[in-house]
Every structure is written in structure tokens, then in C-alpha cells.
């Protein structure tokens, strides 16, 4: 919108260099960037699905997909083609129009959010100097949040329009989940904005030249990473599509291309939030210190950006392969009672520190004082004896056989003391081990 409306070619007062370069982009270059962004989204989705299946497979001691294409890397492409040719089922109870448009609503914002991501620095494309970024709005970070909040409509409407109870439940869960985690997400961004002094993504990257915000603002970083997993409905927070509770979640009734669109939206969203995390906390396309001589080239910056982004994408897969799904109330408790208060307190702390520094005081003396006070308080806390809680006895009302209430879990576990000799162990189906038999 911004670049399209700005039709004057000459640089304008008050714009940063990135904004000037982007405003100068001819139409063909903008179209090229749009197509490239779309391609990046789709290709990363295909690679990501495959990588996810392979990595999770490796974590579960099995090979994962390894038949289609070289090393099995074309499996998701084949799956996608197959999905397109499957029968498109419209449930009888469905609200036809909304059922049709919901996947579109969830996919488009996912791609739109891509447009503000600063992939790299200045480059020259076909003789035209530009920046590896589609637009640089003065409120770029808000674009991502806005797209996330529009994208939920796809999930919610898809679940509602299916006319079936499980998708409806998933839609309700998703609405509550994304709203509450978006608050935590927004609060974790506040600290970054304070330090960068701007909402524009390119400015935020530029502000990290002296040090990544991931180090400086560790609490914000942690909260952002946790809530970005909640925001994208991924394991262990994938309650809207909990297979064990809700069949398939909001897309239970969907099939064929509509299902593929939901799938695409989920993975593009993952890529977007990973890109956002890279932009906000890991210095965007900046190479770290030993390799910082590479920063002069915009394309090499894009390589760094993609590497950092794939670290976050790997984190998504890792979490899915490792953690069990949270219960819904625990999940909401984590969001509202842990992440949001921590973010709020952290923001207050940052304000205090900045005001303290701006008023000309020395920060290190303050930190030392706080440290000494904290140490004294901890010492006193350790010296106070713990209150002994009386163990209440329970009168059994019936003679129903129950285990003793003070049953202690036996401490020495034999299988841990035994030397790990995996190769000498019998297969599980070969019958009882004579050494263990009782």
C-alpha cells in the first residue's frame, strides 16, 4: 500500500534509507518480490513438512519418509498433489459460504505477514538498488500481529461452519487460545520496541548492530518463543487440533484443497513467527561476531536470516517430538498467570532501568546494591526454619481394599543401576528375561 501510493521517485524527507529504496522500486521489482515471497512460503512449507517427518522420525528411532524422490524429500510435494485431486466434501450441516471462505481467510494473512520481514540488506537486482524486503511500514511489527489476529478467523469460522461438534469445540479453543497468547506476544514485543525506538522491522534489525536483543532482553525472548508456539497452534499447545480429544480439530470435516490450504497456513504461520523472532531478537540477517565481515553483502545476510529462521523451525519440530500436549486449563493458566505477569513486570523493570540510566546515574552501583539486598533476603529466608505441616490421617469409610496412603515410592530402580547393555538385551517379544523373572 505504502509503496504503491508513493509515486514520486525522488527521495522524500523523513524517510529512512530502507524506506527510500523501497519507495523507488519499479513495479516489476515489486511483483518479483511478491512472487519470490510466495515461493519462499510454499517451498519452505514443503521442506518443513518433510523435515518435520524426518526429524520426528529420527527422534522416534525410525527413518521417516524415504521413498519419494531423492532421500524422500519429494514426499510432501506428492502428498500435496494427491490432496489436490481428492474429493472435496461439503458436509450437509455446513454453512456453505463460510465453509468455503474459511481456508482462504486463514491462508492469505499468513502470506501477507511475510511482506514486512526484512530478509536482508541492500542488494542490486537487475541494476536496481533495493532491499530484500517487500515493504517497510513504520508500524511493521503490528502488521504481523494484525495478520495473526485475522488468521484466527479462518480457524474459528472453519470450525463453526463445519456444523459438527468437534470442530466447533476446536474453534472455541482456538479463539480463546490465540487471543490470550497474542497478549503475551504483544507484551514481549514492547521491550524490543522500547530499545529499538521504532516499530519498523528494518529499524529494529538496524538497532541490533551493537548487540542482539535476544541477549539483552532474555525474559522477553523466552516469553516470545513460548507464546509464538501457542499462537501458531503447534505442539505442545496444539489444543485446537488435539487428535486424541477432538478427532482432527477444526479441520475435521475438511478435505482436498481446502484442507491443504489450512495445512499451508499453519506452516507459513510457523515460518512467519520464526522470521519475526529472528528479526526481533536475533538481529535479523546479521552474522555474529567471527563472521561479521559477511555483513556487507545483502544476499549473504539473507543466508544468515534463513539459517537463524531454520533454527526456530527446528525448535518447533523438536518441541513436537519431545513434549506431551498440555491440558487446556493448564495451558490457559500458563498464558494468563505466568507469561502475561512476567512480561508486565519485565516491562516495568525495563522502564525503571532506562529512567535510571537516562537521569545520569550509574547502573552498576544500582545492580550491586540490588544484588546485596537480594543476597541478604535469601540468607534470612534460608535461616527461617520450615513450618512443619501436620500429616492428616484419613479414616477409611469402607473396607474397600486401598493401598496404604503413606505408600512411599521405592527409591532404588533396578533398571537404572543395571549397566546399559542394549545389545545383550532380548527383544521385547522374545519372552521374559530369565534374570528378571520372579
Amino acid at each position: 500500500m505504502n509503496t504503491w501510493l508513493a509515486q514520486e521517485p525522488e527521495p522524500v524527507e523523513g524517510l529512512t534509507r530502507t524506506q527510500q529504496l523501497l519507495a523507488d522500486d519499479p513495479l516489476w521489482l515489486i511483483l518479483l518480490k511478491v512472487v519470490a515471497l510466495f515461493a519462499i512460503g510454499v517451498v519452505l512449507t514443503l521442506v518443513m513438512i518433510n523435515a518435520e517427518r524426518k526429524v520426528v522420525g529420527r527422534m522416534q528411532q525410525r527413518p521417516g519418509p524415504n521413498r519419494t524422490g531423492p532421500g524422500g524429500w519429494l514426499q510432501s510435494l506428492a502428498d500435496g498433489l494427491k490432496l489436490a485431486f481428492k474429493e472435496d466434501i461439503m458436509p450437509v450441516m455446513a454453512d456453505k459460504k463460510i465453509y468455503f471462505i474459511a481456508p482462504v481467510i486463514s491462508t492469505i494473512p499468513a502470506f501477507v505477514a511475510f511482506s514486512v520481514i526484512p530478509f536482508g540488506g541492500e542488494v542490486v537486482i537487475f541494476g536496481e538498488p533495493t532491499v530484500l524486503q517487500l515493504v517497510d511500514l513504520p508500524v511493521g511489527v503490528l502488521v504481523v500481529l494484525a495478520c495473526a489476529s485475522i488468521g484466527v478467523y479462518g480457524i474459528v469460522l472453519g470450525g463453526w461452519a463445519s456444523g459438527s461438534p468437534y470442530p466447533l469445540l476446536a474453534a472455541l479453543r482456538s479463539a480463546a487460545q490465540v487471543i490470550s497468547y497474542e497478549i503475551a506476544l504483544g507484551l514481549s514485543i514492547v521491550a524490543v520496541i522500547l530499545y529499538a525506538g521504532s516499530l519498523s522491522t528494518a529499524d529494529i534489525v538496524a538497532a541490533q548492530a551493537s548487540g542482539w536483543f535476544g541477549w539483552l532482553l532474555i525474559p522477553s525472548f523466552v516469553v516470545f518463543v513460548i507464546s509464538m508456539v501457542g499462537e501458531t497452534n503447534r505442539a505442545p499447545f496444539d489444543l485446537p487440533e488435539a487428535e486424541s480429544e477432538l478427532v482432527g480439530g477444526f479441520h475435521t470435516e475438511y478435505s482436498s484443497l481446502k484442507f491443504a490450504l489450512f495445512f499451508l497456513a499453519e506452516y507459513v504461520n510457523m515460518v512467519t513467527v520464526s522470521a519475526m523472532a529472528t528479526t526481533l531478537f536475533l538481529g535479523g540477517g546479521m552474522w555474529p561476531w567471527p563472521l561479521s565481515f559477511l555483513n556487507g553483502n545483502g544476499w549473504l545476510q539473507m543466508v544468515a536470516f534463513l539459517i537463524k529462521m531454520s533454527l526456530f523451525l527446528f525448535l518447533f519440530i523438536w518441541l513436537r517430538g519431545t513434549l506431551p500436549r498440555l491440558r487446556y486449563d493448564q495451558f490457559m493458566k500458563l498464558g494468563w498467570k505466568v507469561l502475561v505477569p512476567i512480561s508486565l513486570m519485565w516491562i516495568v523493570v525495563i522502564f525503571a532501568i532506562r529512567v535510571f540510566r537516562n537521569s545520569g546515574n550509574d547502573l552498576s552501583t544500582l545492580l550491586v546494591t540490588i544484588g546485596i539486598i537480594l543476597a541478604v533476603v535469601l540468607m534470612i529466608a534460608f535461616l527461617v526454619p520450615e513450618r512443619s505441616r501436620p500429616q492428616e490421617t484419613v479414616e477409611l469409610a469402607s473396607d474397600y481394599p486401598v493401598p496404604p496412603l503413606d505408600l512411599a515410592v521405592p527409591t532404588p530402580s533396578r533398571h537404572k543401576l543395571r549397566p546399559r547393555a542394549a545389545e545383550s538385551r532380548e527383544p521385547a517379544l522374545a519372552g521374559p528375561d530369565p534374570k528378571e523373572g520372579e
Binding site: L5, E8, L15, V139, L142, L145, V152, L396, S398
Partner: protein, 275 residues
């Protein structure tokens, strides 16, 4: 964005005009449709699209911050809560035609007309007599939209801002207190407290009701659990299933032709049955 701001106040650039004449009718149509559509969810969605169009208008008119906040807050959060409630109410609920309060419709019509008159008179005055100054001169739009807004909100209007925040906070806390006051009447028991209550005999039995179990021949809820001696465990009999009247299934002779769809001699078969 600044390009627009630097043009003469009141002048409309081509891009702005194109955006307005495409999105204006859409916003208006959605707003009218919102009133006349039967389904509540469709109505809410049309309102969402109107708000979305408004947000784009804000963005085009050099207020990107306001536009995106409109999308995040109104479209994203407020309307999502509306949808949440509407979905809980159910898809088939539409407006009832019965007047609950006497004269409600007439009063509503009169008040609506009054509001319309007020709005139209106010707006027409704004259209005619207010001189647009543009954004370049003022702090809110010049240079950086966010910075300008921030300076206005936390400068001259800080008391209004803080008071509004306090008011909203009070409302939210009040809603919380009301909601919690109703739900703490039967406070939730934890897992451990429930176990102790079970052991004390506050529940009908210590263990859960028996399922079909290892001695049963099927795991359907319609099949009772069997005790080790082969007798039926009385607790496992479902009262609902027992109380449902069951008609015995009629014995129909299996006819392979019924599967193929050709019903050449069903009449003969019927005759056989009747005899």
C-alpha cells in the same frame, strides 16, 4: 505515506481515490447487510469486513498505526469475542419476533431516528464548516505516526488517557469479580482432596463404576460388566439404556438382490410374508 501528507490539505491523490471508491461501497454494503442478514454469525462477519475496510481507509490516510490497531483490537479481539459468544449460542438461533418489553420496538425506532438525526447533523456540519488542515502541520501525522500519537497521548492528554485506562481496568476487574463470585460457590476440588473425600465415604463408592471389564464379551456400554463368577455387576448396568424401550428387530430374509438395487421380485417376497 508521507507523500500523501505533504500534498495540499484536502486534496485527494489518485491512489487514495481508487482505494476509496473500491472500498467505500464495500464497507457501506457490508454495514447495510449486517443489519438485514438473518444469521447472527453472518451479521458479525459483515461487521468485521466493514471494520477491516475502515482500517484500510485509516492506513491510506496516513494513519497506519490507527489502522493496524483497529485491525488488532476491533477486528481481532472484540469481534472475535462476539463470534465466540455467537458460536456458543448456537447456529440456529435467530432473532425472536416476540416483543419481550412492551412498546420496545416503537421506542427503539424513535431513539434510533433521534440518533440518526444527531449523527447526520453533526457530520454535515463537519463536512461543511470544518477546514481540513492536513497532517503535515500537526504532530500526530508528521514524520512518524507513532511518535506523534505518543507525544499527544502522553503529553497534553495524559490525564484523559490514564482516567480512561483506570475506568476500563475497573470494568474488567468488576466483570472478573462477578464471574468468580458465582463460580466460587462450589469451589473446585483438587485431585488429592477428591481422593480423600472418596476415602472418607463422601462419594457413593471409592472406585469408579465398573466398565465392561476383562470378563465381559464386548466393550460396548450396552454390555454389562461381569464379575469373576460370571454374574452381572449391578453397578455397571446403565439406567438410560435399560429404560429405553427396545423393539425387537424384525427377521427379514436376506436377499442378495437388495444390495444390487434390482428389485425384480420384491413383490413376490412381500406376498410370501403376508401369507
Amino acid at each position: 505515506m508521507n507523500v500523501l501528507a505533504q500534498e495540499a490539505a484536502g486534496a485527494v491523490s489518485t491512489g487514495e481515490a481508487v482505494v476509496f471508491w473500491i472500498l467505500g461501497p464495500i464497507a457501506l454494503a457490508c454495514a447495510i447487510g449486517m443489519i438485514f442478514v438473518r444469521s447472527a454469525v453472518h451479521s458479525a462477519l459483515l461487521l468485521v469486513s466493514t471494520m477491516f475496510c475502515l482500517a484500510i481507509f485509516y492506513i491510506v490516510q496516513s494513519a497506519p498505526f490507527l489502522g493496524f490497531v483497529q485491525i488488532i483490537v476491533y477486528t481481532g479481539a472484540v469481534m472475535m469475542l462476539f463470534l465466540f459468544v455467537l458460536m456458543l449460542v448456537g447456529r440456529d438461533s435467530s432473532d425472536s419476533v416476540v416483543e419481550v418489553l412492551r412498546g420496545q420496538r416503537v421506542a427503539g425506532l424513535l431513539l434510533g431516528l433521534g440518533l440518526a438525526v444527531l449523527l447526520v447533523s453533526g457530520l454535515s456540519r463537519a463536512l461543511v464548516s470544518v477546514e481540513p488542515v492536513g497532517l503535515a502541520a500537526d504532530g500526530a501525522g508528521s514524520g512518524n505516526n507513532v511518535v506523534g500519537l505518543g507525544q499527544l497521548i502522553f503529553g497534553p492528554y495524559v490525564y484523559a488517557f490514564e482516567l480512561t485506562a483506570a475506568l476500563l481496568m475497573t470494568a474488567a476487574l468488576g466483570a472478573l469479580v462477578f464471574a468468580l463470585a458465582q463460580s466460587t460457590a462450589h469451589d473446585k476440588r483438587g485431585q488429592r482432596a477428591t481422593v480423600i473425600a472418596r476415602l472418607r465415604g463422601e462419594h457413593a463408592r471409592i472406585s469408579p463404576l465398573p466398565g465392561p471389564g476383562v470378563f465381559a464379551t464386548a466393550n460396548s456400554v450396552a454390555v454389562p460388566a461381569l464379575l469373576p463368577d460370571g454374574s452381572i455387576a449391578p453397578e455397571s448396568l446403565s439406567e438410560i439404556i435399560d429404560a429405553t424401550p427396545v423393539a425387537p428387530v424384525e427377521d427379514v430374509l436376506p436377499d442378495a438382490r437388495a444390495l444390487t438395487g434390482r428389485s425384480s421380485d420384491t413383490s413376490a417376497h412381500d406376498g410370501e410374508d403376508r401369507s
